[in-house]
Symmetry: C2
């Protein structure tokens, strides 16, 4: 893949993706982590057990970090960003719990998924609890503008999840239908996480929109890279099983591109494996070969870079500063994970 | 059951339970039904399909009716009660969708449950959508006090569902632990539905609390009667399969009373059937015999009447009026369903 080389060169001598962001917002993130642990407490033991299993497994906390950084970029003075960051992570956690049930995933962040440990019932209900707790947190913060953004985002995310279910195992899914799914289910929360930082700082709408646009584009890039990683990463890096998407017949962009660019025999391979889920030994390897042949993975990354560029341009509205540069690093981070 | 006779006598010549309420709030309920259909719309077809399957199957709309009636009792002038009623029904619908997945129920309101028709994935995700849409509606109404009540109620409901899961198949569950579960998972939404009617009317806190207390108590009574009906109703009346709770090993008050009042051989029967779920032909009949022998069903209804009385007394704060009398009818309705 040609892109690898150029990115490798660009990366030389620069600190890795999230370092600057973590350095700038590390103190705030400590407070967010504290709030997360405190607010997922419940006398009903299964709740902190399940939530803790996932939350403490320590994702990157990328979404809450974006809220903290956006607040800082907008010179926000106050405390609302702490609870709202926790709230964003709770919404994310709730969707992960339900996603893993719906997908029947066994691994999440390198550990057995909640449904693998507790079965499906508890993750459904604890996911609901995390969702409602998120709403309690945002009500506590008390900004109707923020409530509007986050409730609408949650609704769009849920709608996107249903849309994804509806398009599952359907090789007729177009690139634009796929983009619609990931914009809703992934990018919307990135967008909201960024936007609310500007909203609580009461910045002009142009800045709120710039951060929303940054979030949307970085979210799309992030998901595109995730979909590539599902085919290329080593399990240790990925924290879940390689080829999960393939085994579930999940239609992601690498599959869409390989299918559209393939001949009739190849398309029949995709229909058999992804639509009818009639899979046998060697099918994943064959899928990878076809993706290489048609540059499906490289071009998916190329698309990711396109959205990365839009994210960068959205941020150009803000003057150069350490936090603005940290935001730009996140763009690189989101894409370079793939290499 | 002695109670049957006295209630039968009391009921003579009176209109049935919800008639007065429906007559007083029928116009508003039309508007709520309209809002429900409108707001569950989505371009993602599965959403209106699933939501419609349940919503249009037409439950009694008891919870939204309580919000409408409470607003009327408090002489509310405005439109907020319409969207908030729809919101209450959406929260209820979301919990039903997830409940049926968790319980593996095949029937709901006399029709195949959503999970029986679409499998488990869609109801989990559409349930999430209904939840988030409920929050959008309440944000649209824009009262932070109402948001506080409904977000906290949703969180308590979710917590109660997890608690129920945690106590499932455990014959050591005490009556008070059971009460804690149903207060959270059922009564809390009744309480919030009533309370918000007073809150939007900006009534003094004593009236808000009176309606909250009414809702809590009627909710507990309602659930106790539901738990009796699961053992005694004819399927056509119940809208779900008789004996579902038994087959799932769900620990409800009739079971708790029969177990506690039984001898060691009887207790072993309950442990085998409810804890180990080792059930065979004739077990449901045996369970019913034991419940009759120990007056477990009659005494559960007796408990329900106790909460019904508290609901009545809570309402005594309000002067006599048609809507106040309609509220009292709901108490009778909630309990007399059992007979």
């Amino acid at each position: 893949m040609a892109v690898v080389v150029s990115l490798e060169e660009k990366r030389k001598g620069r600190p890795s993706g999230l370092d600057a962001l973590l350095q700038l917002c590390g103190g705030d993130l400590e407070r967010v982590n504290h709030a997360i642990v405190e607010r997922m407490h419940s006398p009903v033991e299964l709740i902190p057990q399940l939530a803790g299993h996932l939350v403490e497994a320590g994702g990157k906390r990328l979404r809450p970090l974006l809220t903290l950084a956006a607040a800082r970029l907008c010179s926000y003075r106050g405390d609302k960003h702490i609870l709202l960051s926790a709230c964003v992570e709770f919404i994310h956690t709730a969707t992960l719990l339900h996603d893993d049930v719906v997908d029947g995933s066994d691994l999440r962040r390198g550990k057995p998924s909640a449904n693998a440990v507790w079965g499906n019932k508890a993750p459904v209900l604890v996911g609901d609890f995390m969702f409602t707790r998120a709403f309690e947190l945002m009500v506590e913060v008390g900004s109707l503008d923020v409530l509007r953004i986050l409730s609408q985002a949650s609704s769009v995310i849920a709608e996107g999840e249903v849309l994804q279910l509806q398009t599952a195992n359907n090789m007729a899914t177009s690139e634009s239908a796929y983009l619609q799914v990931i914009t809703a289910k992934t990018a919307k929360l990135f967008a909201a996480a960024c936007q609310i930082g500007a909203v609580i700082a009461e910045r002009p709408s142009a800045e709120c929109e710039a951060l929303e646009s940054y979030g949307t584009n970085i979210g799309i890039a992030f998901q595109l890279v995730d979909d590539v990683l599902d085919y290329t990463a080593r399990q240790a890096t990925l924290g879940k099983a390689v080829g999960d998407d393939f085994r579930e017949g999940k239609i992601t962009l690498p599959v869409i591109l390989a299918f559209r660019r393939g001949d009739e025999e190849e398309r029949e391979f995709w229909r058999r494996t992804m639509e009818r889920l009639e899979q046998q030994d060697g099918d994943l390897e064959r899928a990878l070969e076809l993706m290489q042949k048609h540059k499906a993975l490289a071009d998916t990354l190329d698309r990711a870079q396109h959205y990365g560029k839009m994210a960068r341009d959205a941020l150009a509205l803000f003057p150069d500063s350490a936090v603005q540069r940290a935001f730009l690093d996140v763009v690189d981070f989101s894409i370079e994970r793939a290499f």
